[in-house]
């Protein structure tokens, strides 16, 4: 049941977190209904958490036995800068979505991400972002009727104005 690959950077810490997390869940599962009955609401959660804890301990034993990999670094192979930047950008997106609205937040997100990952010119990143946001907005707003936060963009007024234009043409 053991893996033979060498231990990657950060793997030991991650495994210890899994062990502690599983034990915490086991304690929490015990708190649901204890050993009240085999059909009690806490029975499956307890078995599940106990399974997780046993497996996590076995994985920890295996991880401790394996030698660390040579040539790999945490900051390069596990958490390289693009991954960190992306996680930060998604968090920023979630924080800004309500106050700024879908269109400006998506535009900023795409421009920064494309500029950073593809290393293209700023103008190209802006142009691509405008086109992609326009397509996504039209497809998801019209086809999938998904409602996204309008934020600072007066979306209702713009839609009413566009509808008015078409209504005017029809008269």
């Amino acid at each position: 049941m053991q893996t033979t690959q060498p231990r990657r950077p950060g793997e030991l810490v991650f495994t210890i977190i899994m062990v502690l997390g599983s034990l915490f869940l086991l304690w929490s599962a015990y708190g649901i209904s204890g050993f009240e009955a085999l059909s009690a609401p806490g029975a499956i959660p307890m078995v599940t958490a106990a399974t997780m804890a046993i497996c996590a301990l076995m994985i920890l034993r295996d991880t401790l036995r394996r030698s660390p990999v040579t040539g790999e670094k945490l900051e390069r192979d596990i958490l390289p800068m693009p991954v960190v930047v992306t996680i930060v950008m998604i968090t920023a997106y979630a924080l800004l979505l309500k106050p700024l609205g879908f269109v400006p937040t998506s535009f900023i997100f795409l421009t920064v991400m494309i500029r950073y990952l593809a290393r293209c010119t700023f103008a190209r990143a802006v142009l691509l972002s405008v086109v992609i946001v326009a397509v996504i907005y039209l497809v998801f707003r019209v086809v999938f009727t998904v409602l996204m936060p309008a934020g600072i963009v007066p979306e209702a007024e713009i839609i009413a104005w566009v509808s008015g234009l078409f209504a005017g043409e029809g008269n």
Binding site: T15, P41, P45, Y93, L117, A118, F140
Partner: protein, 498 residues
Amino acid sequence: MDVLQSLLIPIIDLKLLGLIALGTFAGIYVGAIPGLSVTMAVSILISFTFSWEVYPALALMIGIYMGGVYGGSRTAILLNIPGAPAAIATALDGYPLAQKGLAGEAIGIVTVVSFIGGFIGILALALFAPLLADFAIRFQPRDYMLLAVLGILLVGSLSGDSLVKGIFAGALGIGLGSVGMDPLTYTERFTFGTDALRSGVSFVAVMIGMFGISEGLMQLHTVNTAAVKQKIGRIIPSWPLVRKHLPLGLQTSSIGTVIGALPGTGGDIAALIAYDHATRVTRNPEVPFGKGAIEGLVAPETANNAAVGGAFIPMLTLGIPGDAVTAIMIGALFIHGLNPGPMLMVEQPDMFWFIVSALGLANVFMLIFGLTGIKMFVKIVEMPRAMLLPVILLLSIVGAYAVSNSLADVYWMLGFGVFGYFLKLYGYPLGPVILGVILSRLLDDNWRRAIISDQESLWMLLKGTLASPLSLVLFVSVVLIFVSKTPLWGMIFRKKAG
């Protein structure tokens, strides 16, 4: 509603027909572009088709599934990067053919045999699912419980390098599925006293996080890898070539259907077993295996497409998903108010026949789109991932938000995305997590029903299991999976060999 009428629904309704075509077309690209997966696409799509009626939503998802399984072969041949795990075996002989300038021929034969495999899988679904559903009505709660455990164990043992990590992932999924109020007693489970957890963890947020965000983060490691350019020649294969490989294709299609129908196994395993079968039954291949043998393309591609129809058999008749994609499809059916299982065939047979028909149409569209537009396809596959990935991430965020217009779901998605990323990095399979989430309710409900009917006695439950042939087979299978991965198994067989 009779069978024929249900079969005709997606054919006469042009909107549904168009959605199947669109889904298949998109699926081919999704399956082919490294970094995009069918699982990811279907999980994101659930959130967008949430408010749709069930037929259009299913039509689009079935198209993506069918197209995606086939599409994985494209990049396996062109770039030596399987677009999906089901295409790993295809790369072994597909890429050597492309290196010889025969990429077009390889794609052509793969398309035709994928169609044949897909057709056989769908035929098996239409013929055997109603029979299995009749049989499944007699299943006892303990059988469902054992089936759920078997499914999670199989996915856990086959999808990663370590059974322990697979079991850990499956248990994690069951734990996640248990979060919230217990539906029978309204007891809080794993809520830690917070209101946000009382209604449970958003299934869609978990899925998009685990399959969309974590995969996107993994792809960032190789974001600037330059695409390999290939020349495309003749595409449509000659009839003698197809006829020559038809007997092998039929054998491997049957293998694919059976493997796909086993709970917990999917197209990836079917393809590898079929490839192995081909290497054993092909006496004198024109080109050796691994160097561009056509048999090495025929076997995995018939099998993985046949496995699609096969995977729908346990999914629709037992409510047990075959793999991660069918787990997500089950989630979609639940969201649309359907309850996959033997009663689906009794109460809503029209839904079953609609799915059969939609799969058949998706298979035909796969053949049409597969043999056309390959040169344009090559250009799109060569699109830089650095530009594609931000779009995928944006779609994932929008998808998570759209389910219940809640920012909390975006944070859940991000949390599970980062967690899934680390799980992947350290060799934990993610398939069992999602299977566990989906099956936790089935497992919990049936365990409690089984143990209550056996008067809370484990001994009586065991006696009942050993007395019923079906329960016994399932129980022995579960035990065998465990034992086969322990040193004990090795000791027994070494002794025998000795």
